[in-house]
Structure formats: C-alpha cells, structure tokens
Amino acid sequence: MSKITKKDVNSKLGKKDVLQAVVLADDFTTNLTPVQNVYPSILMPVVNVPLLDYLIETLVQSRIQELYLYCSSHIESLKKYVQSKNSDDISINLIISDGCRSLGDALRDIDTKGAIRGDFILIRGDAFTNANLKNLLELHRVRIEKDKGAAMTLLLRDVGSTNIPSLIEESSLVVADGSNNKVLFYKKLAKDEKKVKLELEWFLDHDKIEINTGLLDTHIYLCSPAVPPLFSDNFDFQTMEDFIRGVLMNEEILDSRIYWQRLDSEEYALPVTSWRAYHMLSREILQRHSYPLTPDTLSFVRNFTYLSRSTYRHRNAVLARGCVIQRDSIVGPNSMLGKDTFITRSTIGNNCIVGANVQIENSYILSNVFITDNCMIKNSIIFSNCQLDKKVNLDACILSPSVHLKSNSSYVDSVLEYESGKLNVTKISELNLDTDKELLYFTCKESKDGKDCDGYSTDSEDSSSEDDSAPASPLPDDTNMFLSEVIDSLLRGYQDGLNCENLILEINSSRYAYNVSIREVSYNVIKAILSLPLHYLSDQKSPINQANYQSTLKKMISYFFTIIQNYIKTEDAQDDCLKAMEEAATTIQELLSFMQRLLHLFYERDILSEEKILEWYELNGDNENEVQSLEIKKAVGPFIKWLKEAEEDSSDNEED
C-alpha cells in the first residue's frame, strides 16, 4: 500500500530522524452509534472536516514525516481518502487488517509487521489535537535517556475538572511521582464508584506525590519501540487501560515505566468518545479553542469567513433574506438556506439545501441533505444524503445516511435507519445500556447533572460518618474496620430493603476480608445493630432522642431478626451478644433505658436463654468497679427479678 515518494527514499537514508506516527483508524467502540456503520471513526466529519484531516494538519505542523494508518474496517473509503491526500509533506501508509477488534490486536499486528523503527506517536482514531507533537516527542526522548525503561508517555490535558457532563465518562484518577511525572496509578473512574484506595507505599516511597482527577486522556501516546512487543508478549492487553494497568502492576518484571506529560495550557485536545464529546468538540472548534485548526485558517478548506458570535460562512453559501444564523454555527460551501430560516449552534455541511422557515438548533447536518420548508430540527444529527419533506419535526434524533422522511412526520429521541428497504425507528433510550448515556446528551441534560452532583456529595458524608464511629470503640484495626463495614452494609440493607440472606453473605465475606473470628463476628453484628439507629437517624436528619432511637431500634431488630438468629446460635455467641449489649449500653445513653426491654425481646424470641441472662447478670455484678455496669445492672434489675420469678413459677408448675 505504501507509496514511494521522495520522502520515503530520504527516510531510508537517515532512519533515525524520521518521526513516525501510527493512527488507528477505528477506536473499536460503539459509543457513536451509528457512525461505525458509516465511517471509520477517523473519517467522522467534525465541523465538516474529517477528523483525520485535522490530525494530518497537526502532524505536518509537528514535522512528522511518516504516518501509518491502521485500518480494520471501511477499508475502501480509507484507501480512497488516502489517495486523494497526495502530499509531499507526509507519507501516508496504510496497514490493512480485517479481523482486528481491539487496540491490543492492532498493536500486536503492527509489531509483527515491523513498521516501527523508533519512538513513535500512537494516536487513537478519535483523537483531536493542535499540540506540537514534535516538542512533546523530544521530551519523551529526554525521558528515555534518563530512564531506559520508559515505555510510554501519556499525553494528558489539564481541564481543571472533568466533573462536567460532557467529560464525566472520561474522568480518570492519575497518581504520579511529582518530581519526574512517573505514573504510579491510573484508573478510569466508573460512574458509580465512590471510593478509591490509595496505597500507603506511594507516599512512603516518594517525596512528592501528585494525585489528579482533572486530567483528560487525549488518546495520544508517545511510545518507545518497546510498546508493540509488550502488547505481543501480553496477549490479554486489549485496551489502553489494560496496557497501563498491566505495565504498572508488573513494573519490575517488564522493566517498563509509564510517564505522563501535561499539555501546555494553550494547546487543545479532546477525544471524541461520545456524542457529548462530539458536541463539545464541534462547539470549541467553532469558538476557536483549537486555533489554528479552525474552519477559516485550515489550509485545505479555504474561503470560510469568520463572522461575529462564532459563526462561519463559506463564500459559496447562499443565505436568503431574513435568514438568521445566531451563534456557534457554520454553513458549508454550496449550501442554500431559505427565507426566514433560523440556525443556532449547528453545523451545516456541503451542498445542503434548506427550505424556508426552517428551525435548526443544536444539530449537525452533514453533506447533501435536503430539508424542505417549515421543518423543525433540534438536538439531532442528520447524516449525508437525507431528505426531509415539509413540516418534519425532529428532536434528539439520529438519521442514518439516505433516510427520507415524509411530510408532517415527527420523531423524538430515535435512531432512524433503513434496514432492508424499510425505515427502522429505534428509541435511543432503549438502546443497550452502555451507549444510551452517551447519546442522552441531547435530552434531559439538567436532571442528569443533578444526579451526578449528588453522587459526589453523599460520598463525603459517608466517609465522615465512618470517621465518627471509629474513635468510639478502641478495637484493633481490622476488627474496627469490620465493624464499620458491617454497619455500612446493614444501613444500606435497611434503607434499600435488601434481603437479609444477602446481607448475611455480605457480612460473611467482609469477615473473611478482615480475618475476623466467628465470636467477634457475632459480637460486632449485635453491636452494629444497636448502634445502627444512630447512623440511620443522622442520615435521615431526624433528631436523636430516646423515643426515636427506641422505635427505630425495634423496627430494625424485627427487620434483621434473621441475621441475629443466624449469628446467635451457640452459648458462646449468646455470651458475646450480651457483652456487646453491655458495651453498647455504656456508650449509647439512649440504649440504657431500653436495655431491659431488649433483653425481654431477645428472651421471648429465644435468642437468649434464661440461664445465660442470669449468668451474665451475676457475672456483671462482680464487676463493680465500673459505674456504668452498675447502672446497667440497675436498669435491667426489674427484668431479672421478673425472670427469676417466672423461673420459680415455671419450676413450681413443673413440680405440679
């Protein structure tokens, strides 16, 4: 596939100096449905220009001379594209592999083909950047000189916070040595994850540690030639995350280290990982954050004029009278807009014909689309060659190429595509789970934001309540942790109404995790249940007083009865149970007056036997040096008396 150009000959002479880039034409994800059926992700048009064009522009500016384009699907269109981009500045070579399904496969394939001679830049098919990659590669080389095992430098862009809706999927936690940017830990944060464990060693072994969640992976990696063989040796590396995790875990064995590099704050990069990111990228290109990669400065798309409020118009675009282009919009060459048409935050591709009185908001209309009068298009993506008849109403829709919609039809929240000649409508919200969130940028944005924020705030509350409970009980570390774990699971179980059987399983698994003996388990479970109302009440923000505590405790005991029964079976366990009650009563004032009713309850429910209670009472009596135990004794006195009487009664009955 490679074309032999002058540059190619030159490069063979001076092998060392040739800078190479590998671009994966596909990113092997389906986040941008249905793009993968239409384009390889690298040819996805952003503001009317395929992503690859931007990339090539950046690479040429960075003096990269060889580009390997790795394609695994849509090979014909890529071939055609590369032929059209005949350029002296950069030689584009295609590496074709049909069966490749992941980034790992691709790199293994590249390794076997042996195209890589030195340090290279690996770019995933959805990346966009205007950074000077040559300088960054130089930095990477300096790093390699210091550390022979430096395998890769991650390029991360500091965006301040990834806790905004369009980037939330991309947020990751990076822990690095502050002095030399060596990555110690790298993890994509899942949406529902609230806790991350930080290793103590990181802090002990390094003078300076940098922990950051405001960094965005640009999907551009500066790699030493050792990277493709690493992929070959470890066939389980599928994604870049696998690779990073694998290398970090086996740093010693593989003798490879990963570094990271912050992009200059003036440089821009954003990978198109979802429709939301696509939306953000389009807007920021139009707002010129990506300068010089903007429609009016790109050398290959001439004749765009930059107008106020970030709107662009091609010289050959025709706007009829009364036509308003409000903001963040672009109208491509040979497109015609009809009378009184209103456009805001939208891109309109080449050769589109839009009728009169059409409203287009937040939408992307690719080339050769025909829209008739009085249509309303909101939050939608319309691929090329579509046709919309009069008064079509679209909201949050994605139209596959060549869809024809009849007049007066109206669609909301759908993907429209032709399947064997019939128009197929799929609800976006009903698509499989991992993609719907990405697509949802179009609708109900606000509600989602709220939810996300909540997720973060409860996180901090949880941890603080744990901290409160910790100093109250002077137990050894593991047991203490176990106790708080049990409290956590029980509280959650109670609030969410989980099955007690499942909670038992959960408690058992934490028992093994913290290596706690069975006697401690029963002790701690009871203690946890008794202190639970306090946590519950503070969670509910209701006042903690005697009445509240007692009523909640009653409810909880009946709810968790199965659990109590499960753990308090043996006599030893009963001892532990009583001890736990005593211990709890000394710390929780509200429990003290409830003590005798509690004993009664357990007695009635056959959890505690009469003998054990009396035995405990007697034993407790010996321990007079403690004021509290006296109080307890006082508190439960009437019950013991009753118990003794009852015993006498029953023995009398027996005699009878």
């Binding site: 064009d53 090539i56 522009e57 040429v60 500016q61 003096r63 981009k85 005949n86 350029s87 002296d88 500045d89 862009r157 500091d158 965006v159 301040g160 916070s161 990834t162 806790n163 905004i164 369009s166 980037l167 405001g214 965005l216 704050s265 003036e266 440089e267 821009y268 953000m280 920021e284 707002q287 010129r288 954050h289 990506s290 300068y291 010089p292 903007t294 009016d296 050398s299 290959f300 001439r302 004749n303 004029t305 930059y306 107008l307 106020s308 409020r309 970030s310 010289r315 903001r327 963040d328």
Partner: protein, 353 residues
C-alpha cells in the same frame, strides 16, 4: 499543510508558504525579504520571453501566495511592487530601443505621453531581464536600509525630557528609541499589550539600553496619557485610507491620545503600506482570531469554558483620523498623503490582483 499541487506555481512559492506557516520565517521584514527573493528567483529561472508573460507568471504565483497567507498583506505589496518594476523597466527599455538617443524624461513628455494601456507588453525585449534584476537588487538594498532610514529620523521626533508612550513590542520602535537615546534623555511608558504581553520584553530591552522605562498595564493607558507628550507605535499594515491594522490595544491608545490631544506617530516602513481598504469588521482575512486560551482565559478550567464565549483578536483597526503622522523611510507623511504614496509605489492596475 496539505497543498494541492498546481502545475504552474513555482516550487519556491510552495516552500515559502510552508516556511511561513511553520513559523520559520517570522516578522514582516523577513517575510518581505523572502518574498522578494522568491519572486526574483522566478524572474531569473523561469521561461518567458515577453513582459506580458512574465507579469502573468508573477500574478499567478502572487495570487497563490496571497490566498495561502491572506493575513500578511505585505506579501501582496511586494508582488505589486515587482509588477510595477517590471512595467517601469519595460517602458524604459522599449523607449531605449525605439528612440535610442533621448533617455531623459521631461515634464512635457510625462504630460504628453500616452497611458499604459497603449503600451504593448507583448514585444520581446531581450535586455529586460538583466535590467529587471538590477532594479530588483536596488529595491532589495532599499528594503535593507528601510528601518535604518526610519531610525535616522528619531532625533527629529523625540526631544529631551519627553515622555513617550508605546504599546507592546515592535523591533522598529525599539531601534527608534535606542537611536534617540544616544543623543538625549527621555522617558518611555510601555503598555504591556495584553493578552500577548510583548511589552514586558520591550521594557527589558529598553531598560538594558539605559532608557528610563515604565511598564504599565493596559487599563492604565488612559490614566497615564495625560502626562505623555507623544505616542509612538508600530503597525502591522497600513490600509489604503491611512487606517492601521496594529496589535490589539492600539485603538485604545489612539483614542486616549485623541482625548488628551497627544500626537500619535506611526513608524511605517513603506513595504507595509497596502492598497487595500477595510470593508467591514467581518472582512475575510482582516483580523486573526486566535484561541482564547492564548492569554484570555485559562485552558485548565473546563467548567467555565463551557459556559462562556471568549474572543481573542490579534489586531485592532485604528481609523486614520486618530493618526497624526506616519514616519516612513522617505520622511514624515500625514495620513491624508497616503494616496500619493500608494500611486508612487504601485500601479493602479495591480491594486486588485
């Protein structure tokens, strides 16, 4: 840079475009010199036999250059200058050929001579090439001495104990001050020129040259203007009406100066004088809008960037009525005299290439 290769465009032109776009050739002066040498190369090395053909060739390449780098108006100026030189040389060569004896131009002859339209550029004149090269060499020498000629005039404009304000950094203005400082003492106030803040560098350079220098932020321009005797600034281009395309902030400075009736002097090497007008502020290729991250807002604040829209234009347009005097390499000229300079420098036919 993906340049669709055109058969007729000279390869050096393509190289020049690449160099400018890569930032290897920076600054108007360097661009001008590079452009002239490329055009000279075309004249010497390509095949042509008549002046007409040569002019078409230059126009073609020139148009290509201008389209590729629309912001550097001086490139267009140079193309027009070379065309004018070709016309002049051709005319004089033609005259030498026909009426060998009389080389002198009298006023009478100028008045009675017929317009250019009547001259047939299709006549082949073999000696044209050598005389052209000679003339262009002269022109190159003129370019070289251009800034020197301007700085020579420094002592005429800057007097002892004056307070002078300038904005940002201009190599020419810096030389101008240094030249004046050799013979007298004066004070310079430099507005830093946000968001690019070139003024900082300028202040350091002037302070090193033992000139009393004060660096102020742009917001203080108006407040400081009352004590300033003179404003001296550089410019990127001068439009045909005498308006300036200069770095952002220039308009502020000029308006503050107007308010306090402080004279504004603009250093103008003549290669920066363009025969183009400003049509509207939305004009294609009048301004360069760079990323707002270049000094306006912090890139490391995504939540904020999502909500706001920031603009970052590089140039200001300063209308001619705010300019008191242009100091060019041929002397001081008022903005109203620009039209005359234009007709001296360029041929009317070449205004619109």
């Amino acid at each position: 840079m993906i340049v669709t290769k055109s058969e007729n465009v000279h390869e050096n032109v393509l190289k020049l475009i690449k160099d400018i776009n890569f930032g290897e050739i920076k600054g108007t002066y360097d661009i001008v010199v590079a452009t002239v040498s490329v055009l000279k190369e075309i004249i010497t090395n390509s095949e042509w036999n008549t002046a007409k053909k040569l002019m078409d060739l230059i126009t073609l390449n020139g148009k290509y250059l201008i389209a590729a780098i629309p912001l550097e108006a001086s490139i267009g100026n140079m193309v027009r200058r070379i065309l004018k030189i070709i016309r002049e040389e051709y005319r004089s060569e033609l005259k030498n050929k026909t009426e060998e004896a009389d080389g002198q131009e009298s006023l009478h002859k100028i008045l009675t001579s017929e317009g250019d339209q009547e001259i047939d550029f299709n006549v082949s004149v073999p000696s044209l090439k050598s005389s052209l090269i000679e003339h262009i060499n002269e022109f190159e020498a003129e370019l070289e001495t251009c800034s020197e000629n301007i700085t020579q005039q420094a002592s005429e404009h800057i007097h002892s104990n004056e307070i002078i304000m300038t904005l940002g950094r201009s190599r020419l203005v810096e030389e101008f001050f240094k030249k004046a400082a050799a013979t007298r003492e004066f004070e310079v106030i430099i507005a830093e020129g946000a968001p690019f803040l070139n003024g900082h560098e300028m202040a350091v350079n002037l302070a090193k040259a033992k000139i009393k220098t004060t660096l102020i932020s742009d917001v203080a321009i108006f407040a400081m203007m009352s004590r300033v005797n003179k404003v001296i600034i550089g410019t990127h281009t001068v439009m045909a009406n005498g308006g300036l395309r200069a770095i952002t902030g220039s308009h502020t400075v000029a308006q503050a100066a107007k308010h306090y009736s402080v004279p504004v002097m603009v250093l103008l090497p003549l290669y920066k004088l363009s025969p183009l007008y400003l049509r509207s502020y939305e004009q294609d290729a009048f301004n360069r809008h760079v990323a707002p991250m270049h000094g306006v807002i912090d890139g490391a604040n995504a939540p904020l960037m999502e909500k706001i829209q920031a603009y970052n234009p590089v140039f200001d347009y300063v209308p001619p009525e705010l300019v008191t005097l242009f100091i060019s390499n041929t002397g001081g000229n008022a903005p109203s005299y620009i039209y005359r300079l234009l007709s001296e420098l360029y041929q009317l036919e070449d205004y619109d290439l």
